[in-house]
């Protein structure tokens, strides 16, 4: 069975894909669906959902359209999640690969460097970094990347160490290939599946981290994000529940979708480790 047929037969993963496509579509088409910007006041504040036509999710403390805020917030969440994961991979994969392949002092050095980052609590480090750099989308993305690459480096190192001992690597050595070439052409392609699985789950974690930062008021002041919405609404949570409820649901749906996809990928890429019970 090919990868795609296995992936498609996993109901959970397909639900995840549908949800994620929906979120991506909303993010992409936000300017087409809502003519006004999410910062613009359109009605009086604290309108409950469906109280006025054209404002299905009501308005916030300043009379802005919550539905529009949600749609634009999706852009920030997805962008930060995706870019920070890519940056984390760019740091983690080469470092882990070098450590695993060359071993010895290279391994020692790279791993002690990784541990240095692992000993500091993720969230605390992210807060410090954002505070130092001044909050902006770029600094938030970078901060999230910097706190999330160590597990990637560890995973890639372990994978490379096990692939390196396979006989085809010996065969490549005998073919007279240089070590960097063996690492890039022979070893790394065989470590791709676990990296993909991990990356899909990292996007979800990054979205949560971004929301938490925005909730604390460390988000980009010029970008509407789900975390910011919840943070701004927390003082009125008892009188206007919908202001924190809908962004919360949006975060849950997106993170759930990514986790479902991640698990689906894991089962499809490693059919032997599938956690499905016996038929």
């Amino acid at each position: 069975m090919s990868f795609w047929t296995r992936f498609r037969s996993n109901t959970g993963a397909m639900i995840g894909v549908v949800l994620l496509i929906a979120v991506i579509a909303v993010a992409l088409f936000a300017p087409l669906i809502f003519e006004h910007s999410p910062w613009q006041m359109v009605q009086r504040p604290f309108l409950a959902p469906f109280a006025v036509d054209g404002l299905p999710l009501g308005t916030d403390t300043l009379g802005r359209d919550v539905a529009s805020q949600l749609a634009y917030g999706a852009r920030v969440s997805l962008l930060v999640g995706l870019v920070s994961t890519l940056v984390a991979l760019l740091i983690g994969v080469p470092l882990g690969a070098l450590a695993g392949f060359y071993g010895g002092y290279v391994d020692e050095g790279a791993m002690r460097f990784t541990e240095f980052f692992q000993t500091i609590p993720n969230f605390a480090l992210a807060i410090v970094l954002v505070a130092i750099f001044e909050p902006s989308l770029a600094s938030i993305t970078l901060a999230i990347a910097i706190v999330s690459w160590p597990p990637v480096a560890r995973l890639v190192r372990a994978e490379v160490m096990s692939v390196r001992k396979r006989e085809f690597v010996d065969a490549a050595t005998l073919a007279g290939l240089s070590k960097p070439r063996i690492l890039i052409r022979q070893v790394l392609p065989n470590t791709v599946s676990p990296i993909i699985v991990m990356a899909s789950l990292m996007v979800a974690t990054a979205i949560l981290l971004e929301s938490s930062l925005s909730f604390l008021g460390l988000g980009d002041p010029n970008a509407m994000s789900w975390g910011y919405m919840i943070g701004a609404a927390r003082t009125v949570i008892r009188s206007s529940w919908w202001l924190s409820f809908f962004p919360g649901i949006a975060i849950i749906i997106t993170v759930l979708a990514l986790n479902l996809i991640g698990e689906g990928l894991n089962d499809a890429l490693n059919p032997h480790l599938s956690r499905k019970g016996r038929a």
Partner: protein, 537 residues
């Protein structure tokens, strides 16, 4: 009254498999005290039959029809609770790989006692005593010590004995042995086979012995069933099947077995392709500030040479250092002392960069056809990587690769496919083509045919013999199987515990061995007597 009667058993495979049934309409009976050998190549359904009896079928695989009567009950359709009571107590099974079949974190004695505990027999103290008795019965050395040992502290043969002890614990009426000696050395294999024969005689068990090796069949079988792609193709008393096979497939299998028959000696050239002088490799493990490290002399002062166009067989049991010697000769392992001379260059003394340029001179064909090809690289890439790295233009390298694929019998269209599309034997041919692409002066074949079925093994050996004639190849052929070595090699070197015990022409080694160890090895080859009978008859 037979112990077990399997009637018209049919086992269905899940949809999308290469055939609808794993086992189709198979019937067999085993009487008390009888050894029935089920013989077949991989994929013949011989293990599936045994697994169905034990209720160990993998998910998606189900029994479609037929029954297996054991003590007038159909074991396949028993309720789970009764099946569980039956397993171990009445029907026991031993497996191919004793290391994975034993729990690595449990002492041997406890594992045997656990069998009693699972079936709620005896008290704690009695269990321990019984376990000790069983360990004695399977002739493990120093039972008091073994009972407290962990599986990793035992050798392969000792582990298999421990497995057998567990299987015998509740005095089963039927023992199912699924390739129990395949992972073992010849001398150990001979001992285990003798043990099974002894136990059969003493306890009168019925034994269902699954194997791919007709040599083993000749040693122990009373009755034989030959299976192919899920069907029984031949059955009968062992003697009849071995000496007068009726079915084409059985005949082919028997012909494919490497026999002790020796090929005529060939004249050898004087110029050496490979000279190894005083080679030594010591592995050190453990050790600390106050403890001396444990030393293993993997290769201990070995000197030998392979002449141009010669096939030298390097024979020994596992742990004899033969693989280390092979890997040192291609310098995947750097020796501690000694020289490896290929065409006048000492490979053991080169720097990394110089070595990379000399790599092409010695190439290797690996044991495991599944691990030795990169699953994400096309065949053409695997073969041309080396020549291109040497500076041969891509176009030229690729046309040569296609040519080589033709030579090894795969056809040029194999080039653009991925390894998973090929069977084990085909992959080994690709491995050979890859080695040839470098125009090596010497090829080292490290157990290159050990992982293959007999008939495939015969084809690959034919190919190597053919290449030897056509291309004047020099080969260092590493194997644990003397029968294989006899077929292909001009000379044979015997290694034991890192030392070269004896070296001589095939005829000298087989007909007049001078060393005791060589004689032991020869005597342990399964089916040796039967070969002789065949020669006489």
């Amino acid at each position: 009254m037979s112990t077990l009667a399997i009637e018209h058993l049919t086992i269905g495979l899940p949809e999308g498999a290469d055939r609808p049934f794993a086992v189709e309409d198979v019937s067999m009976t085993i009487d008390k005290g009888q050894i029935l050998c089920v013989v077949g190549e991989s994929g013949s359904g011989k293990s599936m039959t045994a697994n169905a009896l034990m209720g160990l079928l993998p998910p998606g695989v189900t029994v479609k029809a037929g029954r297996a009567m054991f003590e007038s009950r159909d074991v396949i359709r028993l309720p789970d609770a009764e099946k569980m009571a039956l397993r171990g107590a009445q029907i026991a099974m031993i497996f191919q790989e004793p290391m994975t079949a034993l729990n690595p974190l449990m002492r041997i004695g406890d594992q045997i006692a656990e069998v009693f505990a699972a079936h709620d027999r005896f008290t704690q103290a009695e269990r321990r005593k019984k376990a000790l008795d069983l360990i004695r019965e399977v002739q493990l050395p120093d039972p008091e010590k073994i009972i407290r040992a962990y599986p990793f502290q035992l050798s392969g043969g000792q582990r298999q004995r421990a497995m057998i002890a567990m299987a015998l614990a509740l005095e089963p009426k039927l023992l199912i042995a699924d390739e129990p000696t395949t992972a073992l050395d010849v001398t150990t294999q001979a001992q285990i086979l003798k043990l099974i024969l002894d136990l059969r005689a003493r306890r009168g068990m019925a034994v269902m012995f699954i194997t791919h090796d007709f040599g083993v069949v000749a040693e122990i079988a009373d009755e034989v069933i030959v299976m192919r792609t899920g069907k029984v193709v031949e059955r009968g008393p062992a003697r009849a099947v071995l000496q007068d096979p009726q079915h084409e497939y059985t005949k082919r299998l028997l012909e494919a077995i490497p026999t002790g028959k020796l090929p005529p000696a060939r004249a050898l050239s004087e110029t050496p392709a490979l000279q190894i002088k005083g080679l030594r490799k010591i592995y050190r493990t453990g050790g600390g500030m106050f403890r001396a490290p444990r030393e293993v002399r993997a290769v201990d002062d070995v000197s030998l040479s392979v002449a141009r166009g010669e096939v030298l067989g390097l024979v020994g049991e596992s742990g004899s250092g033969k693989s280390t010697l092979g890997r040192t000769a291609v310098r995947l392992v750097t020796p501690d002392a000694g020289q490896v001379l290929v065409g006048g260059v000492d490979l053991a003394a080169l720097s990394d960069e110089d070595l990379r340029r000399q790599r092409h001179k010695v190439q290797m064909v690996f044991q495991d056809p599944y691990a030795s090809l990169n699953p994400r690289q096309r065949i053409i890439g695997a073969i041309t990587d080396g020549p291109i790295a040497r500076g041969i233009p891509r176009r030229e390298a690729e046309s040569r690769a296609r040519e080589l694929l033709e030579i090894v019998g795969l056809g040029a269209d194999a080039a653009s496919r991925f390894p998973h599309e090929f069977s084990g034997g085909q992959r080994q041919r690709i491995g050979i083509a890859r080695a040839l692409a470098m125009d090596p002066e010497l090829i080292i074949a490290d157990e290159a045919v050990s992982a293959l079925d007999v008939s495939i093994q015969a084809q690959v050996l034919d190919l190597l013999r053919d290449l030897r004639e056509k291309m004047g190849l020099s080969i260092l052929f590493i194997t644990h199987d003397l029968r294989v070595a006899a077929q292909l090699c001009d000379r044979i070197a015997v290694m034991q515990k890192g030392r070269l015990v004896e070296i001589g022409t095939v005829h000298e080694i087989f007909l007049n061995p001078t060393e005791d160890y060589t004689r032991q090895l020869l005597a342990a080859v399964p089916g040796a007597d039967w070969d002789n009978q065949k020669v006489l008859a």
